[in-house]
């Protein structure tokens, strides 16, 4: 794992107004990710891991500190510029897959490309390719409620990958799945990482975190390096 530095966080602090006080969610977080890494952020609920994911995913910005993604400073970007970076660099996978119920699997996968302005023909081709890649070639015309939880999550993974992002950002990707399908998803992640895809996975489950090649712990907003995932 000696790719270029993909992003670097230095002394990131995040405060949220909570009533009269300021909640200190992230405390001096330093984190560096290289291309091709497979990292999991392990922490209990309320530890600040979701906030960390939002900042990594450019959905939110830090209160203080420096976040550099692909050499670009995030602090002074506006909403439109952040959206462009999300569209180009980041593929999100959420806990409940978050597919749009009225669109078919293929249309769901096409969604990020629609916003990126990709022409229909290319869009359809790429969406089909991705669905084949996650093993859903015979489910393309199905609606989300016709798919099992595992299949839904795989559609979500295809959707995250279709824009060919630099990094895959997964928030509790197996949270809503049973053990078996969870393992299948993890196998798929490992496969993607073997192909050179950078993956960051956020979870509270130590067993799931162990699938990653590198694990960091976050407790009460403090990030500590946990060493190699295989040792954890």
């Amino acid at each position: 794992m000696s790719g270029n530095v993909f992003f670097r966080m230095e002394k990131i602090n995040k405060f949220y107004p909570m009533g009269e006080e300021q909640a200190h969610i992230l405390k001096d977080v330093d984190l560096e990710i290289r291309e091709g890494e497979y990292l999991s952020v392990l922490g209990p609920s309320g530890s600040g891991k979701s906030t960390l994911m939002n900042i990594i995913g450019c959905l939110d910005t830090a209160t203080t500190g420096r976040y550099t993604l692909q050499g670009q400073e995030m602090e002074d970007l506006n909403e439109v510029e952040l959206a462009a970076i999300r569209s180009r660099e980041i593929g999100f996978i959420f806990q409940n897959s978050q597919l749009l119920p009225r669109l078919t699997a293929q249309k769901n996968v096409e969604l990020p490309l629609i916003y990126a302005g990709v022409p229909p023909k290319e869009r359809k081709r790429r969406a089909r390719e991705m669905l084949v890649k996650v093993g859903l070639q015979d489910r393309m015309g199905h609606f989300p409620n016709q798919l099992s939880g595992g299949q839904q999550q795989r559609v979500a993974i295809a959707r995250a990958l279709v824009g060919n992002p630099s990094i895959l950002l997964a928030d509790e990707p197996t949270g809503a799945l049973d053990q078996k399908t969870g393992r299948q998803v993890m196998a798929l992640f490992r496969e993607l990482n073997d192909e050179g895809r950078t993956i960051i996975m956020i979870t509270h489950d130590m067993n799931i975190a162990a699938n990653a090649r590198r694990v960091v712990h976050i407790i009460d907003g403090v990030l500590t390096e946990g060493g190699d995932g295989t040792d954890a």
Binding site: N54, G57, L59, D60, E79, V80, A83, A84, R86, S87, R88, F92, F94, Q95, N96, Q98, L100, R102, L103, L111, P112, I114, Y115, A116, G117, V118, P119, P120, R159, G163
Partner: protein, 404 residues
Amino acid sequence: MLKKIRGTMVMIKECFAMSLRNILSNRVRSFLTVLGILIGVTAVIALITTVSGFSGTLSSSFLSMGAGTLTVSVTGSDLKSGLTAGDLNALAEELDAVEGVTPTVNFRTRVARGGSYKTNITVSGKNAYYFYRNADTVGRGRKLNIVDENNMSPVCLISQTMVDEFFFGVDPVGNTIHISGIPFLVVGVLGDSSSESLVQLLSGNADILIPYTTALKMNSANVVTSFTVYLKDGVDSEKASDQLEEKLDALFSYEEDCYTVTTMSSIEDTMNSMLSMVSTLLAGIASIALVVGGIGIMNMMLTTVTERTVEIGLKKALGAIPWQIQIQFLIESFLLSMIGGLLGVLLGLALSFGLCQVMGMTFHLSTGAIALGVGFSAAVGIIFGWAPARKASKLNPIDALRSV
């Protein structure tokens, strides 16, 4: 740049498809939402089309009767309160644009026969020339002629209404009827001159026609204050009007404001402008329904935005910029409103078609009204969809996704 525009077009097309799916997936709610717009557009279209049909019918009937005549109404001066029979003859003979003159001496009185009577009947005095020009007014019997006129004969023509009123099962011609207590011989019955019915309706239909000289005598008058001038074929009514005014000025010793000359086209103009005013007013009232419909759409869109918070957050996470979210919701409210508007146009046209059939008027497909209906609903959709769409575009993706 070109690629960017093309990308935007593609996105907008997708937005239309997605919006249509959203609208159709909730048919009952969507229908109830567009009902306000539907009713508003229906009302506006029906009103405008019906009024334009009415004014079209009016114009054509004016055209059929009014061409080539001038109507003069005399208020008179201190020295001369009206025109005498001699003055009228002079007008007819001396002005080369004039073919003939028909005085009108109207009064309302009591009419009786045998034991029955009726009050407030309009009796109109006409001359022989009137019957020469309007031969079809006489349905049965004879016209009033120059002898009746010169002798101030107590003879009359009566309308079908009067026949029904006083002559049940009796032939009226040759019988006597009492007008203001004076016995009149009925010499004829007026026919239904259908082409003029609407105009006669508007100008007050006379039920009894008598010689105008007789009418003057009954009114103890010797001057005429209202008459119609028939122009020769192909004479410009404006020119003839000038000629007539010159002559009348001389008769009234050049005093001001003794008379008014009205051409049929000027009456028609006044009529049309009145009608268009009425239709504008009615359409204005009906457009209140459009505003109410717009509020309905706004309400529905605000609810939709709240319901789809997660979807919005997700789309933002997938790289949608605020503008793209806004256009999507704007398209949805635009589509909703347009569906209501188009249904309203169809319903409104059907309604006014039915109305025109019932009222015996010609149905005019007014493209202006259709454009107005469609344009109005498009505008309502965009104006009232703006705030909800803006709200959606401003949603913070983190908050949106957290509400899972």
